[in-house]
Amino acid sequence: MLSAPWRKVMSDARAARGRLVLMGLALAVSGAALTTMLSTYVVLGRELGRNYLSTNPASAQLLLDRSDAELARAIARFPGVADAEPASAVWGRVALPNGGVRPALFFVIPHLGRSRINTVRLQSGDWPASDDQLVLERSALEVAQASIGDSLTLEFPNKQSARLKVVGTVHDPSLAPAWQEQVVYGYVTPAALARVDPDLHILKVTVVPAIREAHAIETVAHGVAQRIAELGRKVREIRIPPPRMHPHQSQVMTLLAMLLGFSACGLLLGAVLGAAIVGGFMGSQAHDIAVMKAIGARSVQIAVLYLVLVGGIALLAAVAAVPLGLLAAAGWVGASARLLNLDIAGVRIPWFVAAASAAVAIWAPITAAGLPVWLGSCRTVREAMSEWGLARTSWTPDSSTRALVRVRLLSTAAALGVRNAFRRRARLLLAVAAFASAGAMFIASAELRIAWSDNVAASAATRRYDLEIRLQNAASADAVRHIVETLPGVRTVESWPVADVAIDAGDHIAVSHSYPDEGHGRITIRAVPLETRLLGAQLMAGRWLRQNEEDAVVLNSAAQVALPGVKVGDSLDLLIRHEPRLVHVVGIAREILAPATLYTTAEGLAGRDFSAASTNAVRVALKPGTAADAAAVDAVANAATDALESAGIGVRGIVSEKLIRAAQSGHIRILISALGFVVAITTLVGVLGHASMLSTGVVERTREFGILRVVGAGAGDIRRVVLSEAMIGGLLGAAAAIPLSLPISQTIGRIVGRVSGQPLVLELAAIPVLAWLSVCVAASALGALYPSLRAARWSVRATLAGPSLT
C-alpha cells in the first residue's frame, strides 16, 4: 500500500499520462538507437577481427622469382617466423555467358583445402578433386554469372586459357566482397594453371605471436628477404598488410564510431526534451507543491518523489529500448555482414553492452530532469501559490511577444498560435533544436549521397577513356597502339605504362602495405602522354610534367593521402620495378576516386628492362555510339584481346570504365543506410519530444482554450491554433538545420574522405533542404494532432473552473 505522497505522484502521472507516454516513447526510441549502434560497434568489431584472424592471415607476403615447399621449410626456422607456405596469385579474365569478360584473380594454393596461412573455408560443394576444377569465393559467383557445376573459360596472357569447372565455393573473409571490386576470385591447384605459369612466386609468412607491431614485422620480413637472397632466390617485393586488421576494419569502425556518436547525441537530445517536459509538468504541480510545503514537506522530499517518477519512466523506456535495440542490432549486423562478406558466428552481444545501454538510457534522463525537478521543488510556498490562476497576471509579455504583435498575420487564431509558441522560449528552443539536429543529419546524409555520386560522376569525367588494357609483359607502344586503333569502334589509343612503386627503405626491396587482393594499399606510378586527351585531373599545386623530364612526378589526391606529409618540392626514394630511383615532386593533381598514383613521363618510367618506347598498358577511348553500349564495349575488349594475342602480345586483363564506376558506387552503401537509420531515429525523437512539449504547453493554457470555446471557437479553430503553434517549432527548426548541417557535413565529409582515401566535399543542396522542410511541416502537423484533439474535446466548464498556468 503506497503512502499518500506516492499515491499523489502516481495520480499526477496518470493525469499527465499523454505527455509522459510521449516522453517515454522518445526516450525509448533514442535509447534503442544507442543500443543498436553500440551493439553493432562491439559485434562488428569483434566479428571483423574474428573472421579475418580465422584465416590465419600472412604477416607478410614475399614475391619471389620462385617459391616452393623446400624454401618454405627453410624460412619457417628463421627467428621470429612462426610458419611459411608457398603460393601464387595469377591475374586473368573470366569470360561471361553474355560475351563480356571480368577481371579475375586466381589464388594458386598447393594442397588446396589444407593450407595453413590465408586459409579459406569450404562453403558449398567440394574442393577441386582434379586439375580441371576450381572453387570460387562465394561473393564471386554473382560477378562471374556462374553457378556450381558451370564451367568457366579462364583467359590468360599469351593466348593461354583454361576451362575449369566450378565445384564449390569458399569463404575468404580476408577479401572485400567480389561485387564491390567487380573482380572474380578463384582458388586453384598449381596443376590447374601449370600451362600458364608452372612456378609459384609467393612465400606467405606468419610471425610469432609476440611480434605484433608493423615495424617489427617489417624487420623480420627484411631478414627473411636477406635469407632468401642467400639461398639464391630473388625477392621482388615484400607486402605487409596492416597487422591483424581486415582490409575494411578501420573504415568500418571509424564510421560506426561516428554513428555511435550521433546516436549518443540523439539520446542526449531525448533526455533534454524529457527535461523540458518534466519542467512543464513541475510547473503544473506548483499549486500542489505549495500546499505540500505549507503542510510540512521539505524540498528534498518533494524532489525525490518526482525524480523517482522520472526514473520510473526512464526505466520503462529502457526496458523497451534495450531489447528493441538488440533486435535491431542483430538485423543491422546481419545486413552489414552481407555487405562485408563476413560470417557472423552468432550475434552474441556481450552483457555489458546491454547493461551500459540501459544504464545510460536511465541515467541521462534522470540527470537532465534533475534541475527542473529541483527548481520546482525548491520554490517557496508564496512563489508557488502566486502562479495559480489565469486571473493573476503571472505572465508578463516580453519583447518577443511585443515584436510579434506588430506582425500582421492571416487570422487572429494564427496570431494566437504563433505568439503562444514564443511564450516559453526555452521550450521552443528545444523543439527547434530537435528538428534542427535531425534536419542537419538528414541534410548531411543527403549531401553525402549527392557528393559521393558527384564524385563517382566526376571521377568518370576525369576518366576520358572506356577501356584499359593491361599487358602481361612490356611491348612496343607503337605496335600496341596500331593494333588497337584499327579496331571498329575505337577512337583514341594512348600508351599509359604502369608499375608498382614502393618507398625504398635502403635495401632496394619494395615494401608495400597491400593485402592479398593486390588492391587495397597499393601505390602505382604511370607514364602519361604529355599531350593526353584521356586524363581530366586538375592541378592543385605545383606544375604539370614537362617534356623529357626523367625524375619529376605529380601525385594524385590518393597518393598524397598514402604518402602523408609529402608536398611539392620534396624528393622521394622509390623502388620502381625494383630499381631504386630518386624522384622530385613537382605537382599535386586532384583526381577523384582514383587509386594512389604518381604520374611521370615515359622517360621517367624507363628503366633497365623497360624503355621509354615500351608500354604494358594502354587506355582506349571508344566512339560515342560504341561507348554507350555495354555489349559493344565488351565486344571491343574481346576483339582487342584477340588481336593483341594474335600478335604475340599477352593480355593480362581489361577493365572497363563502367566496371570502375560500379565498384565505386558500391563502397558507400553501408554508410548511407546507417546514416539513414540515425536520421530516422533522431527525427522520431524530435517529433515525439515536440508533440509532448506542445501537449504540455496546451495543458498549461487549459483555461485559454476554454475561453476560446466560450467566444465561439469550434474544434477546427482550436486545432488551427495548436497547429500554427506547432508549425513555428517545425519551421524554425527547418531553418536552423541549414547552418547546423554545415559543420556536421564537414565532419562527415572529413571522416568519410579519410577512410576512403578520397577528399569529399559536402555542399549545401536545395533539394535536401526543401525535403527537410516538408518533413518538418508534416511532423509538426502530426505532433499537433494529439494535443489539438485533446484541447478540442475538453469540457468548457472544467477548463474555466480549473487552475491554469501561463
Binding site: G389, L390, A391, T393, W395, T396, P397, T401, R402, L404, V405, S411, T412, A413, A415, L416, R419, N420, R423, R703, E704, I707, L708, R709, V710, V711, G712, A713, G714, A715, D717, R793, S795, V796, R797, L800, T806
Partner: protein
C-alpha cells in the same frame, strides 16, 4: 405561463444539475423554472455554493443539465453537442468574467475581433473596424493596440465587455463582473452593463454584492440550488 414563455429569451423548465463525487452526488441545481424576457436586466445573487455559477453555465451552454429543458435565444441547449454549443455561444451570448479572461498574447483589439473571426462575422476588415467602434463606445479606443497586461483592471473589463458585444448577441451574461474591481470602477462597469439593456439586450449578471442590485430590474436569489426569491424592482438605474 404560456404567455410569459412566448416573450422569453431564456426559458428553463425543470432544470436539475447533479455532480457525481466519490462520496456520492451533489445537487447543484434542483428543479429550476425560470423565464427571462428580452431586454430584462437580471441579477442572480446568493451565497457561495448556492448554485449561481452553475445556473449561469446552464444559460451559456458551458454546462449541460442533468434533467430539464433549456431554451435560450431560440436554441434548445439541452440537446446540442459541444461543437454546436460553441458555435451558438459565439453568435448568441456574450460572456463577461470576473477575471476578464482576455487572451494575454493578443492585443485588446484582437481579443475583440476573435469571436467575430470564429463566427465568420463580416469581412476581416469590417471586423477590425467594428472592434475599434466597440472600444470607442466603451471609452478605451486608445488601448486597442496594447496587450491586456498593460491595462488596468477596469480597462480590461471594458475590453472584455467589448468582446462580449462583438457579434451583437441578444444575451449578455456576466459572472461576478466587478469581483476584481474597486468600487468606483465597479459602478462604471455596472453602468455600462445596465445601459446595454437599452440597446435591446438581455443582461444577466451573477453577483454576490447586493448593493449592485440597483442596476437591475429583477433580482433572483438562489439558496442551496433553488430559487429562494424572484423580485422585480419598480425602478432600476437606467
Amino acid at each position: 405561463m404560456a404567455d410569459i414563455r412566448q416573450g422569453s429569451l431564456i426559458d428553463l423548465r425543470g432544470v436539475c444539475k447533479t455532480f457525481d463525487v466519490p462520496s456520492g452526488s451533489i445537487t447543484a441545481l434542483g428543479n429550476i423554472d425560470l423565464q427571462i424576457r428580452l431586454g430584462e436586466r437580471v441579477a442572480i445573487v446568493g451565497r457561495s455554493g448556492s448554485g449561481k455559477t452553475t445556473l449561469v453555465n446552464m444559460l451559456t451552454g458551458i454546462d449541460s443539465p442533468s434533467q430539464g429543458v433549456i431554451e435560450v435565444a431560440g436554441a434548445h441547449l439541452h440537446g446540442m453537442s459541444q461543437e454546436q454549443l460553441a458555435v451558438w455561444r459565439g453568435r448568441s451570448v456574450g460572456i463577461v468574467f470576473q477575471f476578464f479572461h482576455l487572451l494575454p498574447t493578443l492585443t485588446v483589439a484582437e481579443n475583440v475581433v476573435l469571436p467575430m473571426d470564429f463566427a465568420r462575422h463580416g469581412r476581416p476588415t469590417q471586423r477590425l473596424r467594428r472592434a475599434h467602434e466597440l472600444l470607442e463606445q466603451l471609452g478605451i479606443a486608445e488601448q486597442a493596440g496594447k496587450l491586456p497586461a498593460d491595462l488596468s483592471g477596469g480597462q480590461q473589463q471594458r475590453a472584455a465587455i467589448a468582446r462580449a458585444l462583438a457579434n451583437d448577441p441578444p444575451l449578455i451574461v456576466a459572472d461576478e463582473p466587478t469581483g476584481n474591481l474597486d468600487s468606483t470602477t465597479s459602478d462604471q462597469v455596472m453602468t455600462l452593463l445596465a445601459a446595454l439593456a437599452h440597446q435591446g439586450k438581455t443582461v444577466v449578471a451573477v453577483t454576490h454584492e447586493r448593493d449592485l442590485g440597483r442596476f437591475f430590474d429583477r433580482i433572483i436569489s438562489l439558496r442551496d440550488g433553488r430559487i429562494e426569491s424572484d423580485s422585480r424592482r419598480a425602478s432600476a438605474i437606467a
